[in-house]
Symmetry: C2
Subunit: 316 residues, 2 copies
């Protein structure tokens, strides 16, 4: 039997992270926007990962990805050390503080999408240089859904290219600080409206502990976050959010507004698990059943009912 | 005919505020925690206000309150100038910066609850010194629902008294910064659990643009905020939230979990109107019909559906 055709393509970074949080310190652990997103997507759909790895990339990490049935044949193996990121989080853990960024092979990454992956229907462009995201987009064919992430660094340094990415994707995922910065207003609903006017279909604003809001021209959806008391390392939260979002949409092949709402919650739930441990440790242990259970927990937090007619009469 | 018995009693400050925001500057406008809360409550239920006014308190402001059928007979009229607060907001408007606090008559406020108001069933203790809140509580009888607000200043200076208030009320309303500070953890769900362990039934955490979360021992409810693009002056948002919350509960006389959720949304919606203009200007023009309409708008933002069985099968 042939290998199942992948339905999700993830492009992003592959990193060895050194991270300190109030709950511990880890050196050279697996990370990167592409890795987090691909692992999250792989819970739902066959996933292929494109990103640069150095000659020192541990075989164990490659084996981990392959054991999750993530396609690694299009990883770009380059001479030299793998991309390193070092940072820390203080007690409130909302803000990553970068100590060190060594691009290494990432600086020579030139994303080539092999012919057989160009027609992958669901594509997630993790946080990388928007110039590279554009290069990927130019190689894609018949994409059903294209979603891109970004970060403050590119907003500051590659604004024009990021504008172009926004024009060409279906959805952007950004965190609240990023969309405020990019649209130059502190008001998120206003920022989202302006961003959609630039040419994408919608934007999903990730707000960490405050949940997420999905804006399209015709609809707004506010997803609460799971009330997480067990937060050890926020690294990869946004990437795992995006990966789960596209993975769920790919698996269900349903782009209705109802299902997009569910996908946003699935993304948020995936991120809530991811932050419970360092690196991919929690996702390694995670069962799809746990995801569905937490989805239902969040649904219980979120709902409220109409004002009943008897009360409306009182208020008339 | 006798006057309708009031069902809501609000105790709080009465202020003349001087405020600057990116959208304008106003001097000596009506404000104060008691005023905002009482006006918000008065949309739903006959409301009585207790608080200190100085000899310079403009008759027009008193007439405004009375025109809203807010009982003012128990206001404490003291010789000297009314409480003044001066502050400004920067562009993001999440944080009030105090320029000047002149307590004036507020420093001599000694809340006496007249005999006929002691049995008011719904009581809201706006943001005042927790020692004064305790003094009010000691005079109350047969209260059905007691809710208190507070602020960072009392958390820093009156921690022991605030502990005692929490033991004696049904619900606290606090903003996210306050509950983090009081419970000494950045984690809101953890802070809420610890606060409930101190002895109250629940806590409603106001998060401004990020909505509100209502925690009780058995249930958590996350309310989104209305995506407000028109934000002119955030002063009084929290007070009008609390006043609308208790007013709605008083009017509907329904303390079920379903109705508590609705009341939290009504509070959030009232606050979203309040911030559209300075002082009580927007609430003066507000119709109850607009509240109900925005409530439904927020309901549309918030809901999401179960994962359908066909998708669950795919995920099994």
């Amino acid at each position: 039997m042939g290998r199942l055709m992948s339905t999700v393509l993830v492009v992003g970074t592959i990193a060895l992270d050194s991270i300190k949080t109030p709950f511990g310190e880890k050196r050279e652990i697996l990370g990167g926007s592409g890795v987090y997103a691909a692992v999250a997507a792989s819970f739902f759909a066959p996933t292929e990962l494109i990103g640069p790895v150095g000659s020192d990339f541990p075989a164990a990490h490659l084996a981990f990805l392959q054991a999750r049935r993530i396609g690694t044949s299009a990883l770009q193996k380059l001479d030299g050390p793998t991309f390193r990121w070092g940072g820390y989080y203080e007690y409130d853990m909302n803000q990553a503080h970068t100590l060190e960024t060594r691009l290494n092979v990432l600086s020579r990454f030139d994303p080539a999408v092999p012919e057989n992956l160009r027609t992958t229907p669901y594509v997630f462009l993790g946080n990388i240089d928007p110039a590279l995201q554009l290069k990927v987009i130019s190689q894609l064919k018949r994409t059903k859904l294209l979603i891109a992430d970004t970060m403050n660094f590119w907003i500051e340094s590659k604004r024009a290219q990021l504008h172009e990415v926004i024009k060409q994707v279906d959805f952007m995922v950004m965190n609240d600080g990023e969309i405020r910065q990019f649209m130059e207003t502190p008001n998120i609903p206003l920022a989202a409206r302006r961003l959609i006017e630039l040419g994408c279909r919608g934007v999903i604003v990730k707000k960490g502990e405050h949940g997420a809001i999905c804006f399209t021209a015709g609809s707004t959806f506010a997803a609460p976050s799971y009330p997480q008391e067990l937060l050890r390392d926020p690294t990869g939260a946004g990437d795992s959010f995006g990966g789960a979002l596209i993975g769920y949409l790919a698996k269900t092949a349903d782009l209705s507004d109802d299902n997009l709402r569910r996908a946003v919650v699935i993304g948020s739930v995936m991120a809530s698990f991811n932050i419970e441990d360092f690196s991919l440790e929690r996702l390694k242990r995670l069962k799809r059943k746990e995801l569905v259970e937490r989805f239902e927990t969040v649904r219980g937090l979120a709902g409220f009912k109409k004002i009943p007619p008897a009360h409306l009469t009182l208020l008339a």
